[in-house]
């Protein structure tokens, strides 16, 4: 066990960095899907937008001002995008998930194409801000400081989201809406307001995650699909509409993705989807979901 950990510590730490990043992306997707039954495939496009904001504002030569500015700009764009997506999908609320998927997939394609037109299709890099751009020795190997910082920021955000959703009245309203939104309306609360707020907050997190992930993933066409698929796997594994599920699912998938790549490079996608299939067979509602994915 000790030897295994020595040999794979870098992979495990990477897994945590990816896991926390995935949590930030997936929690909004999970809440919107769990709450409103809206399958928002444009969630990856929000991440991609954040990544390109990072590339455009921060670029390869990062400053703290640039990095924080990019985070703020991405947050603003994410908020606006979330409000827009909520309005776009509202008329499809009682329609099938296929209709919602087609609409939001269309939005994704438009956004991705506009980004290619603006920035070309070569991958762009995003630097880590000064002080976080070096590396530290971890068991004799050099490990990028930024990834450790990302784990810290991700953990803080995870705690903040968790406290907000699990311990406040606003969060109770969100959980009630996930459980039975008609009964939330029956006590006089407008579902649409809850929905647009959660949509906006979740989209903001996804877009800022694009900036935060910049120093690891950069900005490139196709990144939206990669992230969306990982986030969907997290949501399915963790269970719809559960913050706890999104956190555990994201950390698990982060490890599976990272260790899968380092231990079984050829089989990595099979490991990822194999674990998804395993959860679906053993616990179709996800690890923490109250409701079946099959129903949704």
């Amino acid at each position: 066990m000790g030897d295994w950990l020595d040999a794979n510590l870098v992979g495990v730490v990477n897994g945590f960095a990816i896991g926390f990043l995935l949590f930030i992306v997936a929690v909004g997707l999970s809440l919107v899907f769990g709450m409103m039954d809206v399958l928002n495939l444009a969630h990856g496009a929000l991440f991609l937008t954040g990544a390109y904001v990072g590339a455009a504002v921060v670029g390869g030569d990062a400053s703290w001002g640039g990095f924080l500015g990019a985070l703020g700009l991405a947050a603003g764009l994410g908020l606006a995008g979330g409000v827009l997506l909520s309005a776009l999908t509202e008329p499809l609320r009682r329609r099938s998930h296929l209709d919602q998927a087609l609409l939001t997939l269309g939005v994704t394609l438009v956004v991705a194409e506009l980004l290619v037109i603006a920035y070309g299709d070569d991958p762009l890099s995003v630097g880590a801000p000064p002080g976080l751009d070096g590396s530290v020795p971890v068991l004799g190997a050099a490990y990028p400081v930024y990834r450790l910082a990302l784990i810290g920021v991700g953990a803080l955000l995870a705690v903040a989201v968790f406290v907000l959703v699990e311990r406040t009245d606003m969060g109770a309203l969100i959980r009630a809406t996930v459980a039975d939104r008609d009964m939330v309306a029956a006590i006089g609360v407008d579902n649409r307001l809850v929905r647009v707020r959660v949509f906006a907050a979740g989209s903001m997190l996804a877009a800022t995650a694009g900036v935060l992930g910049g120093p690891i993933y950069g900005a490139r066409p196709g990144l939206d699909a990669t992230i969306l698929i990982l986030a969907l796997v997290v949501v399915v594994v963790g269970g719809l509409g559960s913050v706890r599920g999104a956190l555990v699912g994201a950390l698990l998938i982060g490890q599976v993705d990272s260790l899968g790549r380092s231990l079984l490079p050829d089989a990595a996608p099979f490991v990822l989807f194999g674990s998804l299939a395993l959860v679906l067979v053993l616990r179709p509602q996800g690890l923490f979901g109250g409701r079946g994915v099959a129903r949704a």
Binding site: D169, A172, R175, A176, D182, M183, A185, A186, I187, G188
Partner: protein, 232 residues
């Protein structure tokens, strides 16, 4: 004085199939109407349609003379509260969270006064609704409705599957509401409960009200009850 609730020729249903077929109904302030009828008659659909949770296809509903809004949150704000069939609590939320979310308006009902009326909930404040007994869950569903400080309460089979002591508490709540002038529409299978707390009985069949009588008159006419409900 006009009735607090006036329902005229109300029709509603689900994707293609019409369930309510012209319901007419009046409810006076402080009155209690027991709504009986066989399974599938449309009683729950009527409750959900009044609440705005099933869209009406035609007809009118007035509360205190004003048309009732269509969206459910506006119906609730206009003063209608529902204790739905099957209770429909929010299982992961604690009792206290249910009470805090539901509280609105400046009437008599606050989390404190509701807990005075339903003391069995007080001890379970920090339990998730999923961990409560059936009786406690029904108390919580009733508490949630009261906390909106409603002018009209719709109760759909509240005694379903509950012990006699819990049914007594439900009866007490209905009588207390009526005493305060809040009318109650009580859908029930338990005739004894309906007879105890309602001054009138209506029977629904295939989406319309086919019979309506004062409770005493209804009880004095077992032949009609038997014909409409298939019970003695």
């Amino acid at each position: 004085m006009t009735a607090l609730l006036e329902v005229r020729a109300l029709c509603a249903g689900y994707a293609g199939s019409q369930v309510l077929d012209g319901v007419d109904l009046d409810l006076e302030r402080g009155s209690g109407l027991g709504l009986l009828g066989r399974n599938g008659a449309g009683k729950s659909t009527l409750v959900l349609t009044l609440m705005g949770l099933v869209p009406a296809t035609s007809g009118t509903v007035r509360l205190d003379g004003a048309p009732l809004p269509r969206r459910p949150h506006l119906v609730a704000r206009a003063g209608v509260a529902v204790v739905p069939q099957g209770r429909r609590l929010w299982p992961p939320l604690t009792v206290a969270e249910h009470l805090r979310l539901a509280h609105r308006g400046t009437g008599t009902w606050t989390p404190a006064t509701v807990l005075d009326l339903l003391p069995q909930l007080a001890a379970r404040r920090h339990q998730p609704a999923a961990h409560l007994s059936g009786g406690e869950q029904q108390m919580l569903a009733i508490a949630r409705a009261l906390l909106t400080n409603p002018r009209l309460v719709l109760l759909d089979e509240p005694s379903d599957g509950l012990a006699p002591a819990v049914v007594d508490t439900i009866a007490e709540v209905v009588l207390r509401l009526r005493a305060e002038g809040v009318p109650v529409l009580l859908v029930e299978q338990d005739l004894r409960l309906a007879f105890t707390v309602c001054d009138e009985i209506a029977v629904m069949e295939r989406g319309t009200i086919v019979h309506r009588a004062a409770t005493a008159a209804f009880r004095a006419d077992p032949a009609t009850a038997h014909r409409l409900l298939g019970v003695a």
